[in-house]
Amino acid sequence: MELKRLKLVTIVAESLLEKRLVEEIKRLGAKGYTITPARGEGSRGIRSVDWEGQNIRLETIVSEEVALKILQKLQEEYFPHYAVIAYVENVEVVRGEKYV
């Protein structure tokens, strides 16, 4: 069994952004994603089950190149105005060709 090394990008964002983020990452080359409901707290205060809506936690397994593009995009258009954070990890998968 051959394991391939890829990047896992995790984005935590206010749920209102879901549709736009999904379009964005697909356009930048992501082949899939997984979303879990979340709540949290950061520099913009508590975001919990509340009027403002929850957060979402979006994960996508992509190549290093796509990962960097996604971070770039977030930094330019999302970080300044919205409650969003993102981080990148190394993961290993089987069927590596599925994700690139």
């Binding site: 206010e14 209102l16 205060g45 089950v49 509340d50 009027w51 403002e52 929850q54 105005h81 919205y82």
Partner: protein
């Protein structure tokens, strides 16, 4: 009944009391919390039921009766963002985006304030036209559009935000329910009355319990933002409320209908507007508009505003 008696009557309704229970629960740091699904389910139910009841009534209301009130409401919707915007700029001294965001909220309408007013007016014994929910639907959208235009003179996410408003869940449920009510009429109503009509005010009571908890979590923000925001939220409600009562009487709504239109006009949105504003005006500060709408204007109307607009309607039109 004299004014004090009416105030008491309003304060001691299960709905208003449930709202205060919600606030108390948060202040006591209780672990009471509504699952998000319950809040969503209640809001779907309430919005659809309001629309549906309005539609069934509308089905046997001649166009001639509803036309003038409808146009009046439309005019109110187009006008109200303007005082809100300028007051926010001058008095609160906030940025253009923040002012537009506030204008969008005070240009739209709160369905729950409408219901509380309707319930009050009926409790007092006044007649209220069956088509009033139609006016809620009419008042919800135009003000948001005007406010967003005030905020963004150049393109951007405006069209996306408009779509968010027009296809937003509160408009779809209100108008969709209305349409279903019109089409299925009394025969349809008979089938679903024990679900959409009879238990309505009980469901609203639970919803207000949750609203109270949400509002309470904004009270600390209120302390930071300060006294001016309270003056802003109350002043605007009084001005818009009086305007609504006056125009309602002019449009032939009678004392009951005019009081309800006043409360609608005095209210600020917290379902449709926040979603639209967050997309069209991301630079605007959500703390500001949510606190003003939920923690100032809403409780003011619920407790003092509604009896006041009613008193005005009696004074001017009784």
């Amino acid at each position: 009944m004299d004014a004090l008696e009416l105030l008491r009557l309003n304060l001691l309704s299960p709905m208003v009391l449930a709202y205060f229970l919600g606030i108390a629960a948060r202040l006591l740091k209780s672990d009471l919390a509504f699952p998000e699904a319950l809040y969503t389910a209640l809001s779907i139910y309430l919005l659809f039921a309001i629309g549906f009841k309005g539609g069934v009534e509308l089905a046997h209301t001649p166009l001639s009766v509803v036309l003038l009130p409808a146009l009046t409401t439309l005019a109110l919707g187009l006008f109200r963002p303007l005082p809100a915007y300028f007051l926010a700029r001058r008095f609160l001294k906030v940025s253009r985006e923040d002012a537009a965001a506030l204008a969008a909220h005070y240009g739209s309408v709160s369905a729950v304030t409408f219901l509380a007013a309707l319930s009050f007016v009926q409790g007092v014994g006044h007649a209220a036209q069956g088509f009033l929910p139609t006016l809620v639907a009419l008042l919800e959208v135009p003000g948001i559009v005007v406010a967003l235009l005030l905020g963004k003179r150049h393109n951007g996410r405006l069209s996306e935000a408009l779509h968010e408003v027009l296809a937003g869940k509160s408009v779809v449920l209100l108008l969709g329910g209305l349409l279903i009510g019109v089409l299925s009429g009394e025969a349809g109503m008979e089938r679903v009355k024990p679900f959409f009509v009879d238990p309505f005010y009980g469901a609203l009571t639970l919803f207000l319990l949750d609203l109270g908890m949400v509002a309470a979590s904004r009270l600390s923000v209120l302390r930071q933002v300060g006294f001016r925001l309270i003056l802003f939220g109350v002043g605007l409600a009084l001005f818009h409320g009086a305007l609504g009562v006056y125009l309602g009487l002019k449009a032939g709504l009678g004392v009951g209908g005019a009081a309800v239109l006043g409360a609608m006009s005095a209210s600020a949105s917290y379902i449709a507007a926040p979603a639209a504003v967050r997309i069209a005006l991301p630079q605007a500060n959500p703390s500001l508009y949510l606190t003003a709408s939920l923690a100032v204007t809403f409780p003011f109307n619920l407790v003092l505003g509604i009896p006041l607009y009613h008193a005005l309607a009696v004074l001017w039109g009784g």
